[in-house]
């Protein structure tokens, strides 16, 4: 998978939040084989140096970092946060979140497009967290986004792919655009389904971090992503309504 000219080796992207400890986080990443880790920026108190400690941890993961603008509810807030993230993580990549609804954490489509336009013009390579809306997707592409990250379900819910029709539509409308299912996945089977549908990767966090055994769940997701991708490439059969015998009828013994 190639995005913004960079080759990504694993189709599983993993968040770094909510793990019970740094060592559990590190172990989950090791077993997931994830090539991309999402990170954030948050207020730092002068003396505690928590940022430096976290920076040392993620640097040791040896993965590509994708900073986010999580929690931003306005264009200005998201743009300023992106600038701070670019300086801190030394990358033009930004997972752009402009939240429009407090309960669903659904993106604000109008603010998202505006922020994507501003950031793209300023040299950022934007990964927009979006809905499965095809009109919004078109707008995001038109302002310079080269990848789309439609949600599977609201962040942190674990509901999976709640609008399969919409996701199939957006996938079909832009067949050459890299697309990552971002948010809402709870089980590896849902990740496999996303890959079978033709999405290029999945990004998740809570399903792994909040599992009883995060490292095992990380590996389960990794295997599911691989299986789903392999199935997609294997060109699955078309479903049909009526039964069709799999064993040949010709040559069947005539027994009454």
């Amino acid at each position: 998978m190639q995005v913004y000219g960079k080759q990504i080796t694993s189709r599983l992207m993993l968040g770094t939040a909510q793990y019970p400890s740094p060592s559990v986080l590190a172990r989950a990443f090791q077993r997931s084989g994830a090539g991309v880790a999402t990170v954030s920026v948050r207020r730092e108190a002068g003396a505690d140096r928590a940022g430096t400690a976290f920076w040392d941890l993620v640097r040791d993961l040896d993965v590509t970092l994708l900073p986010n603008t999580a929690g931003c509810h306005s264009v200005r807030e998201a743009v300023t946060t992106a600038h701070m993230a670019r300086e801190l993580f030394d990358t033009p990549w930004i997972k752009l979140e402009v939240i429009g609804h407090a309960d669903t954490l659904q993106p604000d489509p109008f603010g998202l497009v505006e922020a994507a336009r501003i950031l793209t013009e300023d040299g950022f390579q934007v990964f927009p967290y979006t809905t499965e809306d095809v009109v919004l997707a078109d707008r995001l592409l038109s302002v310079g986004c080269e990848v789309l990250m439609p949600w599977g379900a609201p962040i942190g819910t674990g509901l999976g792919l709640t609008n399969v029709y919409g996701l199939r539509t957006i996938r079909a409308q832009f067949p050459d655009v890299p697309m990552v299912i971002d948010a809402g996945l709870g089980l590896p089977s849902q990740a496999a389904m996303a890959m079978e549908m033709g999405f290029d990767a999945v990004l998740l966090n809570t399903a792994v971090a909040k599992a009883g055994d995060p490292a095992a769940m990380a590996e389960a997701f990794a295997r599911a992503v691989e299986a789903g991708r392999l199935a997609r490439e294997a060109d699955p059969m078309e479903p049909r309504d009526m039964a069709a015998p799999s064993t040949p009828v010709i040559g069947k013994a005539f027994l009454t």
Partner: protein, 65 residues
């Protein structure tokens, strides 16, 4: 002068952003900063003068999803 740092009223003697960050214990820390909601690159901190009432945000790398 009295400014606000990460939402907390704070008294500083320094007159520039770089000086205030040093004074508040951020010297050498991996941080990014904004003044009055506008990003200030690290290279511009020395030349960014502070005024009473300014609002400074100081952020660092953190866990994210």
């Amino acid at each position: 002068m009295k400014i606000t740092v990460n939402g907390t009223p704070t008294e500083v003697r320094a007159e520039t952003l770089a000086g205030a960050l040093d004074e508040l214990g951020y010297g050498g820390a991996k941080i990014a900063s904004a003044v009055n909601e506008s990003f200030v690159p690290a290279t511009a901190r020395e030349n960014t003068a502070l005024s009473p009432g300014d609002r400074i945000e100081i952020v660092a790398p953190r866990q994210g999803g």
